[in-house]
Symmetry: D2
Subunit: 340 residues, 4 copies
Amino acid sequence: MIVVMKHTATKENIDDAIARVESLGLKPNVIEGSERTVIAAVGDERIAGIESLESCPGVDEVMPIVAPYKLASSELKPEPSVITAGSLTVGGGHVGVIAGPCSVESEDQIVATAFAVKKSGASALRGGAFKPRTSPYSFQGMKEEGLKLLATARDQTDLAVVTEVVSPDDVELVSKYADVLQIGARNMQNYRLLEAAGKSPCAVLLKRGPSATIDEWLLAAEYILDAGNPNVMLCERGIRTFESHTRFTLPLASAPYVQERTHLPIVMDPSHGTGHASLVPAMSRASIAAGADGLIIEVHPNPDKALSDGYQSLNFDQFAETMAGCQKIAAAMDRTLGAL
Amino acid sequence: MIVVMKHTATKENIDDAIARVESLGLKPNVIEGSERTVIAAVGDERIAGIESLESCPGVDEVMPIVAPYKLASSELKPEPSVITAGSLTVGGGHVGVIAGPCSVESEDQIVATAFAVKKSGASALRGGAFKPRTSPYSFQGMKEEGLKLLATARDQTDLAVVTEVVSPDDVELVSKYADVLQIGARNMQNYRLLEAAGKSPCAVLLKRGPSATIDEWLLAAEYILDAGNPNVMLCERGIRTFESHTRFTLPLASAPYVQERTHLPIVMDPSHGTGHASLVPAMSRASIAAGADGLIIEVHPNPDKALSDGYQSLNFDQFAETMAGCQKIAAAMDRTLGAL
Amino acid sequence: MIVVMKHTATKENIDDAIARVESLGLKPNVIEGSERTVIAAVGDERIAGIESLESCPGVDEVMPIVAPYKLASSELKPEPSVITAGSLTVGGGHVGVIAGPCSVESEDQIVATAFAVKKSGASALRGGAFKPRTSPYSFQGMKEEGLKLLATARDQTDLAVVTEVVSPDDVELVSKYADVLQIGARNMQNYRLLEAAGKSPCAVLLKRGPSATIDEWLLAAEYILDAGNPNVMLCERGIRTFESHTRFTLPLASAPYVQERTHLPIVMDPSHGTGHASLVPAMSRASIAAGADGLIIEVHPNPDKALSDGYQSLNFDQFAETMAGCQKIAAAMDRTLGAL
Amino acid sequence: MIVVMKHTATKENIDDAIARVESLGLKPNVIEGSERTVIAAVGDERIAGIESLESCPGVDEVMPIVAPYKLASSELKPEPSVITAGSLTVGGGHVGVIAGPCSVESEDQIVATAFAVKKSGASALRGGAFKPRTSPYSFQGMKEEGLKLLATARDQTDLAVVTEVVSPDDVELVSKYADVLQIGARNMQNYRLLEAAGKSPCAVLLKRGPSATIDEWLLAAEYILDAGNPNVMLCERGIRTFESHTRFTLPLASAPYVQERTHLPIVMDPSHGTGHASLVPAMSRASIAAGADGLIIEVHPNPDKALSDGYQSLNFDQFAETMAGCQKIAAAMDRTLGAL
């Protein structure tokens, strides 16, 4: 940690800051610069209260040096993790593809979608049963009934099931039906939920919050890892920016950046990341070319009649065409894709 | 709702879109423009699936006309709501001031702070017992023990207690000790929690998520109102922007803007909204001058030793001085402030 | 244009707004909704003063329907434009690759770079002679001397020269040496410069400003087109967001989105778009997979000794490897790349 | 400057980085941390090429310690600067108020506005003659004719004239008519213009670019100061964020933050900073309460007929009322306001 003193800091201020660094169990190295004094504090920075050093008189800024996460860090485990859950494999040169509707709406809808996405090469089925919705007046999901329909679709297609869980109380129930628990963007910092997912036997797909920094996202993963569940996939679903022509901005450079920092695999979500079906094929291909380990794509038999997210859902033909384009890119990258 | 067709839309596309508008129970008005056709759809827009119209062939864009929230809207209830919870009143020409530490750390700390902030004119005490922390390695709060210490401080000072609740399972417990439940920024879209808070007898302080739009924030309030709790205060605590010299950007224009849209009172949080103690006095005064109905300010006996948020906490003297400045501004605005 | 009245608007307010719409030469269509009145105004919206309608009493919002640009619009010219300037072709199934140093530093540097990037398949040479620098204390470029060195490099390699122009007064001079004038991000709304570039015989590469909306960017292109120069290439170089691990955020979905709206080709800049050399190869490949028409990449013989932008520059070997990866993706996309 | 090595950096990498630090004329201090090595480099960081250190093998990050600007810094000149230009004084406990239309449209309009704003207490007149407009189809200003009308208004009211200059070639002409040259947000990094303004006898009002960091803004001021003009006022006019209910987000904390870093006074622009006339009074008052040194407000005789920016312009009565509110806040702050 680097403690930068103000140029107006007195000798007493500097001595006090040094004492505070020592009282936190760190070793201070004092460097007198041309304009300011800087204290480089050596030791474990991940301790309670450390940022309060900034309140010491004469301190201008406190800059961390070490990543705040440990278990998620590639410094701890340099080789990339490969996560497998039923028919889904993500990482290790294989691009897993999760596809399906935003919400489970009926048996016909989910089973037909499962067969269709499998045929086009998807490796897992997504579908929401517990839906966190912005408005209390929107469709809230079929709940346990939806989970049962997902299980039916899995029985018929052998596709692994990825579905969202929104409350720690539901983790046990959802884990009975799902292969992968999805933690949604709105719940990325719902720490009780992260801890509960950390105790589930299922793998976890952890979506990035739309204003979360990468450190905050990896610290959220750290909660799950720290609770004992090593099977965490990160999912980039877009950040909120001034850009309004897309619903969110998909910062594709997250994929290679995150892969430098963590061993956890990263799945891209071009559906939420753009919010427009017409942009999904291009961003799916681009995700693979950028080196992402997986894709999650919204597919619906009739997007214009979907109860949620229709504007960003592909129909079956569009998904088939998207997958064909993705196969070519995966081959160019020497990677395998989906169920193939 | 306005449905804008693409300039390439065919007659068939337009007819299909009209039929979809009708099937949703809305009345279509077709306007043939110089370059495009537009369908103005009259009726209640707040229904499931409506945004999926965007997936109809030939549709370019769907623009809502009506605010998506109802109970929170000033169209429903034009007169501003005044919320009272114990010693705290927010709204109606009175600026309520909530002050105290980020976390309850000990009886000495919380009781001393309660007396100090009361002396300077605060109307309520804040203090976190259940702490949602970005890192699993940070101090996580004293939990129920912390709630008991808050109750002790209330017994001695008569200040209302404002404290955070992070899980629906805890709402009953926290409601036993608190006057106001705080829903934190990370949980603004934790809908189970909102519903549970909507059934509590306590008032609710609903913080804005750092990337939430104002519509999303008011829809979160709508969940609480819809569950039966009319005592909701909004709390603006800053949004995430590219600006990094402050931890968040406090968009003060939220106060007058929100007051045009909703009857719910709005409390500003200059501590989280700036992230630097030195900026808190100026932004506290500015909040009152902008017409905010309340303030929430972090105060700690020794900010440089706080277990959380020390860098943005005022010490007792700084808080007293801040309140003196705020009193002058409140008087210039013909408002009363805090406990006075 | 859609004029949304407030729910409190009086009959008189509505009549006044209708009269104002008519006085602007537009035809009003009045729709009485369940909660509000809406006026759909038909006619050419691209006229002075139109947004001032928002100031009429009782008006809540004014929403444009038609894109504000004309000449740049794919509504006017549906087939994509292909731009050729010397050895550089961008668009029409061909991905043009512009490569070279941020700044021209010496004859050795620029000539060696020209040969190296040509060998790896680049189709044009970039290099800055007039440098707009954030700090007055940074290297400001070699000016005309730098232009001459670029011309020398072109003489020896036949690569087209792309170089920045920062002032209308310099357009004539720079046009003598360059094949393509680059308008930098900081100057995207320097309208005098756009007008001057619009009169140059050279093609223009127009970078997006880091906080420009896509409409603002296309309107900047419109200035150049309107001044008589049809050879405009758009260049996406990243936007400013809260994300700080990359210097800017490269919103790759711009490529397919812009291609739906305009006939102008789009070039991606993964160097500025990420700000880290290690992320450039992945984002170069991803740009092609997303369907971009060109790439512009910073290459320097010794990035760690560059006078500017070294942190985001590739060395010759890194560029060769990046191009090899890009070739595979271009082939998978059925496109040709660079000089090949 | 702090050079953070990767945890995988070799001894050779570290030695190379040390050598590079030395070759830049800085003195390296090597600190071996528990997980990484850090090199604190002492000396003047404001030199060409320094950031290229990031490209040295094994270097993870380069963090500056010293502010990149000198002349603008309060480290160089601790006492705040007071700027006077004709009837306008900004700083030193006095809040200067600049008011007038976005564009000069006619003699009647500008003279009537000058008298009206003077009567309400404004200290200077604003009005654009050279207008940088997003669209080439919008009104572009009256040019020199507009400057003459501003001079006429000054002759009749004695109000100082603040007007925008958009090109270095116009600086001489505009300086003949103006008291203060405004550099607009779009031109904040038009360095030729900054240098030309630095040679004008007029004071300069430098608007912040909507995505400029505070360091970039102060470095733009540094260009003007470095060219010899000490009379620079900063103007915060809002930044671009995801928040779309206001046209820009006015980050009011800029005022106190900037005042800690620079001696230059800061003027707030609530008109552009909100984009809605109804929000201007609240944000004007808030600006003063936050300690701003001045205000710039758009005022027009008939906002609903303005040729530009009508939606954010106050009419004469609204301005009078706004000033009355501001006077009360200024008095509460022990400051004088406007012409009083």
